[in-house]
Amino acid sequence: MFMANNQKTIDYDKIAGMESFKKLTKKKNKFLWTLTAIFLVLYMLLPVLTSYTTVLHQKAIGDVTWVWIYSAGLFIMTWSLAHFYVSRANQYDKDAKAVIDEYEGGASK
């Protein structure tokens, strides 16, 4: 259960101070929070529009009103952003591995 014992100690301060690490976190956090802000705004816009306006109550295709189209858009948004995240995160994984390699390369010398 307590598997930490056999670990070699990691110099977290050193990693945190590395330029490559700082660049990675900055890039990653900027991406995460920008996208989060976008999808939360698009999502919260729905109840605002449905509660205070009737733009989404109008018919779009046949008897299907815009509110269903907007909702379908939110579903598509969710799946697209989920996959977009994965493609970005795979890149960040490589960057993170490069950071660790750089650290381990430096540590063994």
Partner: protein
Amino acid sequence: MNGVSPIAIIMFLSIVGLTLIITWWASKKTSTASDFYTAGGGLKGWQNGLAISGDYLSAASFLGIAGAVALSGFDGFYFSLGYLVAYLVVLYIVAEPLRNLGKFTLADMITARFDKAKVRGTAALSSIVIVLFYMIAQLVGAGALIQLLFGLDYWLAVLIVGFMMTIYVLFGGMTATSWVQIIKACLLMLGTVIISFLVLSKFNFNILTMFEHMKTATPAGEAYLNPGLKYTNGLDTISMLIALVLGTAGLPHILMRFFTVKDAKTARSSVIWATWIVGLFYILTIFLGFGAAAFVGSENIVAANAAGNMAAPLLAQALGGDILFSFVCAVAFATILAVVAGLVLSGASALSHDIYGQIIKKGKVTEKEAVKAARIGSLIISVVSILLALGAQTLNVAFLVSLAFCIAASSNLPVIIYTIYWKRFNTAGAVTAMLTGLISALILVAISPNVWNPVEGKAIFVGEPLVFLTNPAIISVPLGFLGGFIGTLLSKEVDAKKYREVEVKAQTGISVQDVSH
């Protein structure tokens, strides 16, 4: 509905039998605390994705949303939207840092930065409160459902479900729970796809024809296809949608599922799986709801259950006769079992691992003691929730679920975000964030229209509510964030070194890679 059909009993018993075989198999693989809480951390992405879906799609989703769409049209569909978009919050903000920092519980992750008993204790308390509210809702719903389906007494129904969930968790731990959830997710998807296919076939597979038909199929007329049938107050609607989208990322039994995979990459792929499965299911709730409104009729739905919970089973009966009805009832039963088992496990992890193992015993427990504590904790959580559910028969379960989501969003989410992303955050802030979120959500619900109504029988107490919001998230979530912010600034404590460690671990997963599973 008229008594119990033999087919229903056979399907019911097959599910019980199958899950017991899984539990027996899983019990042989459960010897350490890590096996018990996280199935040894060895689940694959698709397995965990299915298990997350099985953990998440509760009876409230399957029966509740189908009924809500059937009775309130688009307004019922808000739930489907909120519950799905919530996965983006989980994926973008929470899943990977959580996997990289934690071990068994949410408290593990927060104490990775603030290793204090009061932080762990508060986190465990908040988890236990959420789990208990959620569990009472599930058990009360389960009792009512089984009562309707099989004609059993309420107390007997609660005891049967309670007994089953205790067996799974006690003997099979997370391995059994995960596989019960995986099987349930497959059954639920199968049932939902079959019903939706039958509904669509009635409209010649033309969605436009379906919408055209729905215009005249319900008493609401054309208004059925637009928002505003049930939720007429803008702020209340917005507040509810906030709780739906932010609550998921703070639900202990969902967060716990991320410890069952080996690394952040697998956590990521399990969310993708879950997003597809859960999303597909939520789209199909349109067909379940519309179909029930068209082919069962709102009068019949309300006659069976005022909240509309019987809409999906009744639709199955109308379209597929007794066999499909029995199958859908069996699926509903499996749905309930899978969710309550996950809840017991997350409650037990907070009680046995956090409070007993880490706070009372200060981490000095042997492997054997830890497993024993986990089993005793599961038993305590099960018994307490069964007793509470037995006394809560008349409570409106929908409000218990929304309360659980609201507490999760107000108490857990702010502290998770601050812990990972805010350098200045400290111990005092962690405690105040959780307590303000938890307490404000509880108080605001206690004075809400869910609890108080001037008309007798409409709510728990007779009287004027002090706030008009049925869901307080729009106030309590900002309060949780604000509480953490003010608490942090009021304390001088800053530990930049510790934050650097947490940041490196969260971003690179460096500590997880060294952990052998």
